[in-house]
């Protein structure tokens, strides 16, 4: 794997290989010295143009557990925030000898630009770009589903026949996009439930089933329900009348929680708006994978960095 730019471009084989590798990595985390020497001497740069402590620390922890050197280039206080172009930053990172760049950017396509531009030779991992994709989030979600559903050894398996319902702001969600593509690649059936204002145009051409009624969607007994965060800036832009109505129509409240079968997984990419898209009881229930999603995130990111950097050395080096 040269870069990880989108879940859409991941093959089934590669996705399974990443999850299987993550399975091995998760054992490392349990050791007394949770560290592998696999990426000793490699430099991983985390380049975050948007604040996201969760994703950034997850990647940095993953890199450190593989003994890589980690350089943090956070947007705040660096030349990045002073209007330095992506090109100049990339050339600086190239000069520092970066082997991999983990990039989070508000502009869709920025990681691809970095990978295609020739400004830098490093592998590029997309850690979330605009409203485009967030492939490691989708990988960790699929990994979390696989671990829960396939109790025992899940190695080598995909998600064939698994039913996943994604609820909420699909329009602005890179997590939803990555999940839709990856889950499909892995054989799962994806349904969406959202008001039409929060569904992207052309969604009818995507491999998904669409519901405009959450309760109807839940009647189809999904194996996993993924609740998406409603961002505060959507509240006043006429996507829906008000948060109360949103919560009543589209939130996973206690009543809907009780209607779920016992083995339905409840997922949320975080951070959660408790009481809006998800009730406290739903978030904290034993069916919720929210907490293990964090640990799984580190394992998946270890696997991605490992597969990207430990392979055959690139010709140019």
């Amino acid at each position: 794997m040269r870069h990880l730019l989108s879940a859409k471009d991941l093959s089934r084989e590669t996705a399974i290989e990443i999850m299987d590798t993550a399975e091995g990595m998760s054992e490392v985390a349990g050791r007394s010295v949770p560290r592998l020497p696999a990426l000793r001497g490699k430099t991983v740069v985390s380049l975050f143009y948007e604040d996201s402590t969760r994703t950034r620390t997850s990647f940095e922890l993953a890199a450190k557990m593989l003994s890589a050197d980690v350089l943090t280039f956070s947007a705040k206080g660096s030349s990045v925030s002073k209007g330095e172009s992506l090109k100049d930053t990339a050339q600086t990172l190239a000069a520092m000898g970066a082997d991999a760049v983990v990039v989070r950017h508000a502009a869709s396509g920025a990681p691809k630009l970095l990978a295609d531009s020739g400004w830098i030779d490093a592998g590029v991992v997309n850690a979330g770009d605009g409203t485009h994709e967030h492939p490691t989030q989708a990988l960790l979600d699929a990994f979390s589903i696989r671990r829960r559903i396939r109790s025992g050894d899940s190695t080598g398996t995909a998600l064939d026949g698994v039913k996943v319902l994604i609820v909420g702001d699909i329009l602005h969600s890179r997590v939803a996009r990555s999940n839709i593509w990856l889950l499909n690649t892995l054989g799962a059936q994806v349904s969406l439930a959202a008001p039409a204002t929060l569904l992207p145009r052309g969604i009818e051409h995507w491999p998904v089933k669409i519901h405009f009624d959450l309760d109807r969607a839940l009647e189809e007994k999904p194996d996993a329900v993924m609740m998406l965060r409603i961002q505060s800036e959507r509240m006043h832009a006429a996507y829906f009348p008000n948060p109360r109505e949103y919560s009543r129509f589209w939130g996973l409240n206690d009543e809907r929680l009780h209607g779920l079968s016992d083995d339905t997984l409840i997922m949320h990419p975080g951070p959660m708006n408790r009481g809006l898209e998800i009730s406290a009881a739903a978030a904290d229930s034993s069916r919720s994978t929210v907490r293990e999603q964090v640990a799984n995130g580190v394992s998946i990111r270890m696997a991605v960095l490992y597969l990207m950097l430990s392979g055959a050395r690139r010709e140019s080096q």
């Binding site: 172009s85 992506l86 630009l113 409203t131 052309g202």
Partner: protein, 443 residues
């Protein structure tokens, strides 16, 4: 003034003829012409068309001279086969007073390569609030006839209606950039399945079509002339067809890029393909071609929009909208319309030269290549074929979407006011040609 004898060209009608030019006019057509005093130019195998006229050029001067100047844009136009270009008003200061349009006009005269006709702003400062000095610009030395807030839409319906009515008195035309600003806030590319996948905010077809629908109704009521800039959707073509059938005085232009490229080019996030209005779907491209073929669309306009490298060498969302197009226009229309069999050279000549000249009320532009007409001619090699490269550009900026594409044809020579402004594909500056003329006389 030089006499020029072009030996053996083919007119758009297919007729083969020599063309004798003198004193800025076409003196004589016919085969086997001879003139001892004329400079002989071999144009065998070349197509002779009336000089191209662009209704939509961004020259960037005054204010953004790092992107383009009147001189550099004139060079780009001349090598593209143009003899007349219309310089859009979104400069700094905005071309909303007689002073600015006269300045741009004089810079064009000084450059001496094409006729530069300034477009006046419709509203002061392009702010969409009050009318600009439309009458003063019309009566100035620049004789402005085309008014546009291009880059922005005249969104206020009452103001648009008044503007249409006001320009009627001197046979002017309002050229509308049809874009509902509310529907396109933050828009990055065509709205459809692809923008959703790429995570780039969509620019819906309805944002263009809603404005065109409103404007043709306003033009119909006022009996004034409306011109629609850079039509980009199939729905817009339908609306225009409807309006024309009702006798509304509306004309429309399409750009070369909207005739050849689709939204699929956005996949690589290469911002050379970022333009406003955005590249659309292949169905839209087919509808534009059909509209051009059946006369619903009257003109090709380049929307030549130069930008410095740093405005394009960046994330898609941060990149500027627009592409340069003067140097590639004829080849692109050749590829999109003639090679595909949509239409022939007479229709190409109409939509790239005589019809836009009529819309802009350009004086001194020939109706056809015939004795007595002004000598505004482009000589084009239709058999040439090459990969379009940066070396073909003569403007200051290089944001062309066509690099690497194999395109047909090449402009070999351009004649403006009876003078060769382009010879063997290279610009001939007025000063060079004086020197040359001197040598001819001495010889």
């Amino acid at each position: 003034m030089t006499r020029l004898l072009f030996r053996g060209a083919t007119l758009s009608s297919g007729e083969r003829t020599d063309i004798l030019v003198s004193e800025g006019r076409i003196l004589e057509l016919g085969t086997g012409l001879n003139d001892a005093k004329a400079e002989l130019v071999d144009t065998n195998g070349l197509l002779a068309l009336t000089g191209l006229v662009d209704l939509h050029t961004h020259l960037r001067e005054p204010g953004f001279e790092q992107s383009e100047t009147v001189l550099s844009g004139s060079r780009a136009a001349a090598v593209g086969g143009y003899t007349v270009i219309h310089a859009m008003a979104n400069t700094s200061p905005v071309a909303d007073t007689a002073g600015v349009v006269e300045q741009v006009h004089s810079l064009g005269v000084e450059a001496g390569l094409v006729e530069v006709r300034p477009v006046g702003a419709v509203t002061a400062g392009l702010a969409g609030e009050a009318l600009a000095e439309i009458g003063a610009m019309a009566r100035s030395r620049a004789k402005v006839r085309v008014f546009s807030d291009d880059g922005r839409c005249v969104f206020n319906s009452q103001l648009m209606r008044r503007a249409l009515e006001y320009v009627k008195s001197f046979d002017g035309v309002i050229a509308q950039h049809a874009q509902d600003p509310n529907l396109t806030e933050g828009a990055q590319m065509n709205e459809g399945a692809l923008n959703s996948e790429l995570g780039l905010a969509g620019w819906p077809a309805a944002a263009e079509e809603a404005i065109i629908a409103r404007d043709v109704l306003l033009a119909g009521e006022s009996g004034a002339r409306l011109h629609v800039c850079h039509v980009s959707t199939a729905g817009s073509v339908d609306l225009l067809r409807w309006a024309k059938a009702r006798g509304i005085l509306v004309t429309a232009e399409a750009t070369p890029h909207h005739l050849l490229l689709t939204e699929e080019t956005a996949r690589g996030y290469d911002s050379r393909f970022k333009v406003n209005p955005p590249l659309r779907t292949s169905e839209d491209v087919a509808a534009l071609r059909e509209g051009l073929r059946d006369g619903t669309i009257d003109a090709i306009a380049t929307d030549h929009a130069p930008h410095p490298l740093e405005s394009k060498e960046t994330e898609w969302q941060a990149a500027a909208f627009g592409m340069v197009g003067l140097e590639s226009a004829l080849s692109v229309v050749h590829a999109a319309m003639v090679e595909t069999g949509e239409f022939g050279w007479t229709q190409l000549e109409a939509v790239m030269s005589t019809q836009p000249a009529g819309i802009g009320r350009v004086e001194g532009h020939p109706l056809r290549i015939a004795a007595g007409e002004p000598a505004e001619i482009v000589f084009y090699d239709p058999e040439a074929r090459s990969e379009f490269e940066a070396s073909r550009l003569r403007g200051k900026s290089s944001n062309s979407p066509f690099f690497g594409m194999t395109l047909p044809g090449k402009v070999v020579a351009t004649v403006h006011r009876g003078r060769l402004t382009v010879k063997d594909g290279e610009v001939v500056e007025p000063s060079d040609s004086k020197a040359e003329n001197g040598m001819v006389t001495n010889g």
